[in-house]
């Protein structure tokens, strides 16, 4: 039976360029002389280093422990010696450095004692913790910790588990080759996840330009004999491999920005993630290697199985970088990012390493004014009006940009791909988003400064009051003792109490006056800097009030 397919609006059809890197099977890349394993390779908290310099590590040994639940562990990809725990260049467009464990392989590749984990018997929470500590994160590129997504949510069950084998970006073929070679592991991983999500069915979505992968998975599904597994071939149209777009195509469900897809009865994982889940739970192998497509301006485009932490230059050397390469890109040509240098390591997010040349990806022509032709709106898979977002982002009108759903933009690049004015539209959205995040951080900082200031005032007041009360109590005690001594006779209670009361009241009045003076002094004259900060915070709050909460970032 053919399942009914749905469609998303927009999208583009660039030349897939997937032929060159799929001619040869996946090759296992040798270990480099040095592995740079970044601690932070996923969305969420940065793991704590668990090893020190000089320590010997084994393959699969945890070297970074998850920092809280929204985090994931990292492991040594081979056995060797830790030669540094320090900041190293990261595969990030800005060229930032971040803490990494630097390992010198000893060539023995000795494995740590594999933990036998009976996931059938374990509770779902225990399985999730195990996957977190096995470092399993989304391998489609978003590197979101998988254990967080393996939760059926409020309803306690899910309808559909979507396996994403669409791989819509041109040049990238790592999932294609993985599906051809490991179809059974992928599907068995999916069945594990299906059980964890209490899902009714598993739909594997594959674009129709990968017939070999679809055939391999269909054969594997038939061999497993599980009727809840279905391999669905979807039309090739970028970005059909976007999680939300694929969910839409396979189920007709549109998951809005900022909501959990499990609330809509569906969850989506990349096929490589599924295999990683299977390998972690059934084989005790944490996530220490991944398939990386090396393509573009190289002599021998191919897919390699690469140890996480392998320097990018080492990978390119094996594929033969052509001399006229002008840029290295991590990811595909539509959403990839320019790499700061060949020293940055392969990380869990590295699905593709693309060498660019002026002939392959010509530099953009000069930007012309927007003529509102609407091509971008027709291409946008999120149904946005990209030229309006551009307009407001460019004029720094960020509130309006958010009203036009800036944060629903998935930065797929379709708008810039079709723009006849060659406007780098996505750059404008990235800029607007980062400005809005920066403003929110500033606002939070100003708010805490204001809270600190107000707390200090309150504390000063409280101390003055306490001091005044103490003084009053002391001065009341003195005269009360004096009449008792001079009268000699036992005073009546009234006589003793009345002057005491009067004294206390007088002292209280003094204290009150003093307190008012003090309070006035503190609140009326915050210093200039503090006042400026308060004003700024107020202004920002007023601006922020104009922005609906629903459009705030996740």
């Amino acid at each position: 039976m053919l399942p009914r397919l749905f469609s998303f609006n927009g999208g583009v059809k660039p030349d897939p360029n997937k032929g060159d890197s799929t001619r040869e099977p996946i090759a296992r890349l040798p270990l480099p002389p040095q592995l740079v394993v970044p601690l932070h390779q996923h969305i969420g908290g940065t793991p704590r280093p668990l090893v020190g310099v000089g320590e010997r590590v084994l393959r699969g040994q945890r070297v970074g422990g998850a920092d809280g639940n929204v985090s994931s562990a990292v492991h040594a990809p081979t056995s060797g010696r830790v030669i540094a725990v320090e900041s190293r260049l990261m595969p990030h467009a800005s060229g930032l450095s971040a803490p990494a464990i630097v390992i010198e392989p000893d060539g023995e590749d000795r494995h740590v004692e594999r933990e036998a984990f009976d996931w059938h018997a374990a509770s779902p929470g225990e399985v999730r913790d195990f996957l977190r500590d096995a470092g399993v994160v989304g391998l489609g590129g978003a590197v979101f910790p998988s254990h967080l997504k393996l939760n059926p949510g409020k309803a306690g069950h899910t309808d559909t588990l979507v396996l994403n084998g669409a791989e819509c970006e041109p040049f990238i073929t790592c999932d294609d080759m993985l599906m051809r070679t490991e179809p059974e592991g992928i599907l068995r991983g999916a069945l594990i996840m299906k059980k964890m999500l209490a899902a009714r069915q598993v739909l594997v979505g594959i674009e129709d330009n990968k017939p070999e992968a679809a055939a391999a998975l269909k054969a594997a599904a038939a061999a497993l004999g599980d009727t809840s597994l279905e391999v669905v071939v979807v039309p090739t149209r970028y970005p059909a491999g976007g999680a939300k777009q694929l969910i839409r195509v396979l189920t007709g469900i549109e998951v809005p920005h900022g909501s959990r897809s499990t609330d809509y009865g569906v969850q989506c994982f990349n096929v490589a993630t599924s295999l990683a889940v299977f390998q972690a739970l059934e084989q005790g192998e944490p996530l220490i290697r991944r398939i990386v497509t090396v393509a573009g301006n190289v002599e021998r485009p191919r897919n390699f199985e690469v140890a996480i932490g392998t320097p990018i230059g080492f990978v390119f050397a094996h594929a033969g970088l052509k001399p006229d390469t002008d840029k290295l890109i991590m990811g595909g040509p539509m959403m990839g990012m320019p790499l700061p240098g060949v020293d940055a390591p392969v990380v869990k997010a590295t699905n593709c390493l693309l060498a660019s040349s002026a002939a392959l990806f010509p530099p953009p022509e000069p930007e012309l004014p927007c003529i509102r032709c609407g091509e971008c709106a027709r291409a946008c898979p999120a149904d946005l009006q990209p030229f309006e977002l551009y307009w407001h982002s460019r004029s720094r009108n960020f509130g309006r940009a958010q009203e036009y759903h800036l944060f629903d933009c998935i930065e797929c690049g379709c708008c810039a791909y079709v723009c006849p004015s060659h406007i780098p539209l996505v750059d404008y959205y990235r800029y607007a988003k980062s400005e809005i995040w920066a403003r929110e951080r500033d606002k939070d900082a100003a708010d805490s400064a204001r809270e600190r200031f107000e707390f200090r005032n309150w504390r000063a007041e409280r101390e003055k009051e306490e001091k005044a009360a103490r003084l009053a109590a002391r001065s009341a005690a003195k005269p009360a003792a004096a009449p008792a001594a001079t009268d000699g006779a036992a005073p009546t209670a009234d006589a003793a109490v009345d002057p005491k009361k009067a004294l206390i009241e007088a002292a209280m009045a003094r204290a009150k006056a003093q307190k008012e003076a003090v309070a006035a002094k503190n609140t009326a004259e915050p210093d200039a800097a503090q006042q400026a900060q308060i004003d700024e915070a107020d202004a920002r709050r007023a601006r922020a009030a104009a922005t609906p909460d629903s459009e705030r970032t996740e």
């Binding site: 549109e254 040509p333 609407g374 009006q385 006849p420 004015s421 996505v426």
Partner: protein
């Protein structure tokens, strides 16, 4: 250093503009064949003036002249002005109109992409308001030889009846004002021949040629179906309704669709993306509004054809229309639309 996407489609503003120019060729050819070569001279004058004004304004605004001149947008404006003006106007009028469109209509608002009004329609309105008599002198079918046409354009003395005839829209208006009825005016000996089969001898062919060019624009994905369909559909519906109610005083839909600038307006004028609505629903509203206003001006106004005024009036409404017709965003289609209005 630049960022993703690194792949880009082969598309450019110049390609868009050149396609529009090519799509105008059939109608220009038909117009030259039926009404004489005057139009070619007007096209040349308008193009030269538009390019000169564009270059001058770019230089004054300290913008790169060569790159912006090459985008072809000034030529499109120039050609649209030339084809909608009577082809035998004295040369200085088309100079005035084109210069006004480029200098005031386009560059004083910020140049390409920034003008709120359709520059060609601004030029048309400025000229018809300033020189109503000259603007109503269209050549008759095969009116006058080339030498006589060029003599007129060069500013020579004009003998009215020699070459010009009333346009069908004009003739109908005058006839109705004179107490006639639609059918009798169209069959009268004086102006009857001007009406051809349906909407004016020759004009029907010009209109069909514009429609053919418009279909090319649709096929090349330069425009979407929304504006032509909404414009022609609304015009036909209103004209059909009015003529059904009072056939003696209102012309029918076929006449309205093929007369005057209906087809030119539907496919080439109202579809200007810069000054028009951009959302799908907005385009429908925008085009329907133009059709309604144009029909009102044709039927009750002081000018024979109202498309230019209708376009400018709807141009004013575009920001509001666009804001109120934002399409629902992915995932928000079932919920209430929360974008657009502030």
């Amino acid at each position: 250093m630049y960022n993703s996407p690194f792949l880009r489609q082969k598309a450019s503003v110049r390609r868009v503009m050149v396609t529009v120019l090519v799509a105008m060729l059939p109608a220009i050819a038909v117009q030259v064949w039926l009404f004489g070569i005057g139009l070619l001279l007007q096209l040349a004058i308008a193009s030269a003036v538009a390019l000169a004004c564009e270059a001058g304004m770019l230089a004054l605004r300290r913008r790169p002249v060569a790159r912006a001149l090459g985008d072809g947008s000034a030529l499109v404006t120039a050609w649209l002005i030339a084809v909608c003006l009577p082809p035998l106007l004295p040369w200085w009028m088309i100079v005035l109109g084109t210069a006004f469109a480029i200098v005031i209509g386009k560059h004083l608002y910020g140049g390409l992409g920034q003008n709120p009004f359709n520059p060609a329609m601004l030029a048309y309105c400025v000229l018809i308001v300033s020189f109503p008599a000259l603007m109503s002198q269209w050549p008759g079918l095969h009116g006058g030889d080339a030498a006589a046409q060029l003599h007129w354009i060069a500013g020579g003395e004009r003998t009215l009846d020699a070459m010009t005839g009333a346009t069908p829209l004009d003739a109908l208006r005058t006839g109705l004002h004179g107490g006639g009825e639609v059918a009798s005016v169209m069959q009268s000996a004086a102006v009857g021949p001007a009406f051809g089969h349906v909407a004016g001898a020759g004009w029907e062919w010009v209109a069909l040629a514009w429609a053919a060019g418009g279909l090319l624009l649709l096929a090349m994905r330069i425009i979407t179906w929304h504006i032509p369909v909404a414009f022609l559909g609304t015009l036909a519906a209103i004209a059909g309704l009015a003529s059904a109610i009072d056939g003696a005083h209102f012309a029918g839909p076929a006449f309205h669709l093929l007369a005057g600038g209906s087809m030119l307006g539907a496919f080439f004028i109202a579809t200007d993306p810069v000054s028009g609505a951009t959302t799908p629903r907005g385009k429908l509203i925008f085009a329907a509004g133009i059709a309604l206003i144009a029909w009102l001006i044709r039927s009750f106004g002081a000018y024979p054809d109202g498309i230019a005024f209708a376009v400018l009036l709807m141009n004013i409404c575009v920001p509001l229309i666009d804001q109120k017709t934002q399409p629902p965003v992915f995932g928000h289609k079932l919920g209430k639309p929360d974008g657009g209005a502030k």
